[in-house]
Amino acid sequence: MLNVSGLHLWRGDRHVLRNVSFTVDAGQCLLLTGRNGAGKTTLLRAVAGLLDPEQGEVSWRGTAARKSRGEFHAELAYLGHDAPLKGDLTGRENLRYSIGIRRAVAANEIHAALERTGAQPFADRPVRTLSAGQRRRVALAGVLLTGAVLWLLDEPTTNLDSDGKRLVASLIEQQLAAGGIVVAAVHQDLDLGSGSVVNLELAAA
């Protein structure tokens, strides 16, 4: 369903992505590995459409993602290095707005998602008072709430304790079991018990 072919991308003087191609289908997980600076984040951002590749194409369900950006993004959830949250709002408010702009969302849905990621106890505190790990749990609840088919996760386990790492693994497993797709950049192993996992190692530029 997600097909990336012949991606080339330069950042200033560095040829970061050199001819990257892969295909991921429903129920599959692609783990991007490689050293720091190998272009994992760049690749994720290019797939999401935040970066404009010099050459190559990202296509979703057979059509170029660039041409039907709205439809593609409606089915996509992207979680970058830092949790995209406003410090002056509570976790719950953050989700109400960030999900609300995508779809109508009920308060109990938000509650359920926060429960699942273990963010419920601190969901009503301003985000700026939360630890990095707590923010990540709120942000993961946001990813669940999008209901997106395709998840793009950049180092989803950073700042999380071992408990949190297991949580990420189980969330990914559930997403795959439901026929979703996950593309994740990782530098330590994710223990995915089930589901079909493909590894893609990016060479350092």
Binding site: P84, L85, K86, D88, G100, R103
Partner: protein, 226 residues
């Protein structure tokens, strides 16, 4: 169920207003800045009201422009830094509508309060009481156009170092027509003339701005997020 573009825009507005009211001190800064600028003119020019009256349109409009610029820097920058702007761009919704919503909030929080409190400054500049409604109307309409133009430059400077000065450098030449027509409307109001012609032109610029500026701002923001 996917939310419509207007629903998304409404939520962005509610969010930005709520965020602004969590920091009330920051909210008042542009207004206070405007008042200080208006106070400096009598101190540096002359205390005579009859002479200040001639300078009043210039003082009001330059003050309005500068305080609008002051708040403009934060229009997209904070959202870009904490990653929420990126999520807007990836929401599958029209970024154009959402940025238009943010621009409207910028006007509601700077341009509109400034226009409403302008009579206080205008009295001190010798503007006659019967001109006040026109002064407020011109500043409100012109302020809206300024916010729209400013949104483009705020988007363009997202990816730049030292965005602050650059933001002014980009905005000021583009704002010339708004200043010309706005100051003319104010001038006519003070001298008891017909303010309709410059107000129509100001309105035309605002309409043009509503149709084109959010599009340009969305293009600029997408480039800035790269």
């Amino acid at each position: 169920m996917k939310a419509g573009p207007l629903q998304a825009a409404r939520l962005v507005m509610v969010r930005d207003l709520r965020l602004a009211f969590r920091k009330p001190s920051q909210l008042l800064q542009p207004l206070m800045f405007f008042m200080i600028v208006a106070t400096l003119f009598p101190l540096t020019l002359t205390p005579e009201l009859s002479r200040l009256r001639d300078a009043a349109p210039g003082v009001l409009w330059v003050g309005a422009l500068l305080s609008s610029l002051l708040a403009l820097e934060f229009l997209f920058r904070e959202d870009a830094q904490d990653g929420t702007l990126e999520q807007f761009a990836l929401s599958g919704q029209s970024l154009t509508w959402m940025l238009f919503a943010k621009t409207c909030v910028h006007w509601l929080l700077t341009g509109l309060p400034l226009a409403l409190s302008a009579p206080v400054a205008a009295v001190g500049l010798g503007v006659p009481a019967e001109a006040m409604w026109s002064v407020v109307a011109a500043l409100a309409l012109g302020g809206f156009a300024l916010s729209l133009i400013g949104a483009i430059s705020a988007g363009l400077t997202l990816g730049a170092r030292r965005g602050g000065v650059l933001l002014s450098l980009l905005t000021l030449p583009l704002a010339v027509p708004i200043l010309v027509f706005g100051a003319d409307a104010t001038q006519r109001a003070i001298t008891g003339g017909e303010i309709a012609p410059p107000m129509y032109l100001l309105g035309a610029i605002a309409v043009l701005g509503v149709t084109l500026a959010p599009l340009a701002a969305a293009a600029a923001v997408r480039i800035g997020l790269e």
